[in-house]
């Protein structure tokens, strides 16, 4: 039996096609993944991401404690800001990637993946010991909505006229009073377009979903499912846990060393100086079928790795994606590498991640 989003009835009414994602029945699309993708790039779309975890951490020692147990440097995280971080195992492998929202000096909101909620909460609880830290797992009873796209600020400004969004910069957040609960509104997202993520209780969340769709601003707000969320994040060059991240790869191998505190980064680099295997980003240079997870990548006659995520970019029509490779590669070489799809090779180039 799948877990259902608090917005499930609304998805049914909107004619969603569902998929199972980490034990949750979530909308895959509401008619067309491609259209939903392009709406985000060209106007604005909303996603139900209530399957994501919702863990509150508070207490006098919570900042010092979190800094010790998560990979990114928490000292640098200001109040009312969010940053990307990791929970790592003893070998530096990624147990989960997550976003940490600092709501107050000693109050944090942590959003792990749906698949990582249990691992993250169990691990963190086992680390509390005598520390003055309280952890509250509210996953499943928080409605999380991502408002993403070029026109997202216009839509948000119309729905929340009391807030000035023009001074809410990327990764900033605001706490806002609602009817039944407060709302965390952050300028974060997973699409590569401008956008916001909103977290609140079930009642407030259901009402907000409808308000966004039925806004009277003349902004057409499109509902989007996890299908386009995936193609959008691939275009943006963002990793997905289980594909580009797992317990046997360090964040450095995943190409995400930027989000690891300096000291830990140094330790991880010393432990694996070659930094292999590692995650890289590619673009297919010919008209080819969509690159999919598991397809092999070649340098000349030797297989050097496999695709971990890929798609035909809805924006450009070109094959793009991530691969795990077991040897050093060079970027922007157009005649050296190829992807093997069914019975033939298509030339491919490794590039800096993200095409938008």
């Amino acid at each position: 039996m799948s877990l259902l989003s608090p917005l499930n009835d609304q998805h049914n009414a909107l004619g969603a096609t569902f998929t199972d994602f980490s034990g949750w029945q979530m909308p895959l699309h509401y008619g067309s993944i491609l259209k939903e993708h392009l709406h985000v790039r060209e106007s604005v779309g909303i996603f139900d991401i209530s399957h994501m975890g919702a863990v509150f951490i508070s207490g006098r020692e919570s900042a010092v404690w979190l800094d010790k147990h998560l990979a990114n440097d928490l000292e640098s995280l200001a109040i009312e800001q969010a940053h990307y971080s990791f929970l790592l195992n003893d070998d530096g492998g990624v147990i989960d990637d997550l976003i940490v929202y600092r709501l107050a000096e000693d109050v944090f909101f942590v959003v792990p993946n749906a698949s990582g909620v249990d691992a993250v909460t169990n691990h963190l609880i086992s680390c509390i010991g005598e520390a003055d830290v309280r952890l509250e797992n509210r996953s499943g009873s928080v409605v999380s909505i991502a408002v993403q796209g070029k026109l997202s600020q216009t839509l948000m400004q119309g729905v929340f006229p009391q807030i000035d969004f023009s001074d809410l910069k990327k990764n900033d957040l605001k706490l806002v009073d609602g009817e039944s609960d407060s709302l965390i509104i952050a300028r974060t997202g997973y699409t590569g377009s401008d956008g916001f993520e909103i977290f609140t209780d079930v009642e407030e969340g259901r009402a907000l979903w409808d308000r966004l769709i039925n806004n009277d601003l003349g902004v057409e707000c499109h509902v989007c499912g996890l299908g386009s969320r995936d193609t959008l994040r691939i275009e943006a060059g963002y990793p997905l846990y289980g594909n580009e991240l797992n317990t046997s790869l360090t964040p450095i191998q995943a190409g995400l060393g930027f989000f690891v505190g300096a000291e830990l980064k140094q330790t991880l680099k010393e432990r694996l100086p070659e930094n292999l295997p590692k995650i890289v980003y590619f673009k297919v240079l010919e008209k080819a079928p969509p690159p999919r997870s598991g397809y092999e990548i070649f340098e000349g006659e030797s297989s050097i790795g496999k695709v971990t995520s890929g798609c035909l970019s809805p924006l450009l029509g070109e094959g793009i994606g991530f691969a795990l490779v077991n040897r050093k590669i060079s970027l922007n070489e157009s005649e050296k590498y190829a992807i093997f799809i069914r019975n033939r090779k298509y030339s491919l180039m490794f590039v800096k991640r993200g095409i938008i």
């Binding site: 096609t17 895959l28 699309h29 067309s32 993944i33 491609l34 259209k35 299908g227 193609t231 079928p289 969509p290 999919r292 798609c311 035909l312 809805p314 069914r342």
Partner: protein
Amino acid sequence: MSEFKNLKYAKTHEWVSKEGDLITVGISDHAQELLGDIVFIELPEIGRVVENNEPMAVIESVKAASDIYAPLSGTIEAVNDALEAEPTIVNSSPYEDGWLFKIRLSADVDDGHLVDYETYQKDYVE
């Protein structure tokens, strides 16, 4: 829309329209709906000899690649080139503009495994 109710269907969701010993093949409306947005189609080469039930084309949607099977044995006589540039035609017009290929049938082909529209709907759709 052509008379899709008069077409024959394979259980793997291809439709077949027959004129003499030449058949035109596509996929059913149900199949295109299940696949969702079609982003790539790989069609067989003209002149290729195909056996009944042989995988000989691939339709790729955003999420998955699906084989298309030859509904009857014969030789590929034509393919729908327009689909290369615009594969979503199969979504918008599965029975007309979105046809996939034509097969010149081998002699004495048995089409007993193909079913009519009602049977297809009853046994393979619902």
